[in-house]
Amino acid sequence: MTPMLQNVLLILVMALATPAWAEPLPVKEVAAGVYVHQGAHEDLDAGYHGDICNIGFVVGSKGVAVIDSGGTLDVGRRLREAIRKITDLPILYVINTHVHPDHIFGNAAFREDNPVYVGHAKLPEAMERRKESYMRNNMAWLGEAFAGSEMIKPTRTVDGTLELDLGGRTLQLTAWPPAHTHADLTVLDRATATLWTGDLLFVERTPSMDGDTLNWIKLIPQLKALPAARAIPGHGTPTEQWQAAFDNQQRYFQVLLDDLRAAIKKGVPMEKAMETAAAGEKAHWVLFDNVNRRNVNLLYPLLEWE
């Protein structure tokens, strides 16, 4: 074997032994030390690529907290690369705002950092309940692109509130009663008054329902009262007009509920209600037809018992 061939082989072996290099995700600094990557508005269905929600990180003087990790190991790795372009500080926390697959399946990308994984006290149970079907669905939607993605449960949970010190700034985590899901968590960065709402707030994208929508509606005044100057919603553009965004969401909920209750009273079946309920809201939201129909499928059978 020639020395040159030996070198080529050596390089090849080294390339195989190092983890695949991941293209850093584009991120935007929406407030000092607060970075967001905004996913695309794709449906969780065929055509889903694993990068549809807002994920990001907050940098303190001691270390970094990741807030949601994306829908695949690869998206998580690319988020990690984005962090490494900005700081070499240790990644201390990986916080999941809720159980949905687009927010959690990048968790494994941070395992080598040995972070504390943080979530709502009910998140481990919610993950366990959905593990089987999430793994199956995401494999079907994403195929190879889902390879290596895992469900990693929180190692520290929040019941009520929890403060995380990143050095020079404190994150205040709040665990909410059932709303968008049964385990929603918000993260408030006090230093910049930036609120990560998780999917308790949707901007542009039609709000999707899963946990307890009637309770979610009741919580909106409390959410709006949080001391924030801007919010990073679960989906859509981060905004300083975040209280108005909650009002938009509230309006959609109320129109949908009113229409469904009227439909049930008139004996309009669920299938028909899917076509008509909240139709006036369609112009205001992305992916309205798909998501609104699912919301009807969830709400109608519950409202029938009122």
Partner: protein, 266 residues
Amino acid sequence: MPTRPLMWIASAILISLSHSPVVFAEASEALWPVVKEAFFAGKNIEPADFIRLEGPRRAESGAQVPVTLTIDKAPDAPDAIKKVYLIVDANPIPLAAIYHFTPLNGKAQISTRIRMETDSYIHAVGETADGKLYMTALPIRAAGGCGGLVDSDEAAIRATAGKMKVNLEEPIKFGEPNPATLLIKHPMFTGLQRDLASGGYRPAFYIQKVELTYNGKPVMHVDLGVGTSEDPYLRFFYRPDAPGVMDIKATDNEGKEFTHQVEVKG
């Protein structure tokens, strides 16, 4: 019910699913010959236009898939369809329900909500009084309605199980088929759902039979399977000849009976 063959197809399908790399293929026509033999061994089933199925092309939720079954033939015709099997080919337990019609239905149409574990054909097989079989099929794309994990707050579940609600569409037209909706509060545990507390499978617990009478005369009865969704929903027709009372009796698989009565006024 032929329970043993059903268990057998359940395991055959589970095994085939666990070995297939892509679980979400389109609805497969390959399952029907196996399912058909389990329910109707050796019998001939003729495709028929007068049995119609309507449902979403793609279900919004595998847990509550709305379907409507219509028989375009009067329930008092000499060759009337007396009962219809509603079968989801790819469900681990394929039978959703068997509907038994009488002339007092006035019109043989049922809307219900079913569970679907994956993309599947659903079959409606109608049987005449002399045992002739007719069928129609509809493919639906869906996911995840049968398994998963359930809450195990036994006391809370049992406290409300069996509550019923009936909505009569008004005005009531005597001598004609009138639509009505029956809702039954019930978890309809499939026996395939894991229990988070025990780690094992939550035993099946479901409404097995619903019997409907009008002024004491049988209108219809339904044999329900766990393919019928949680909080069973049935929209059906009844033909009242005069004001009276509709009685509903529901029986669960543990033998417990629940009753409900509605007055039908002029």
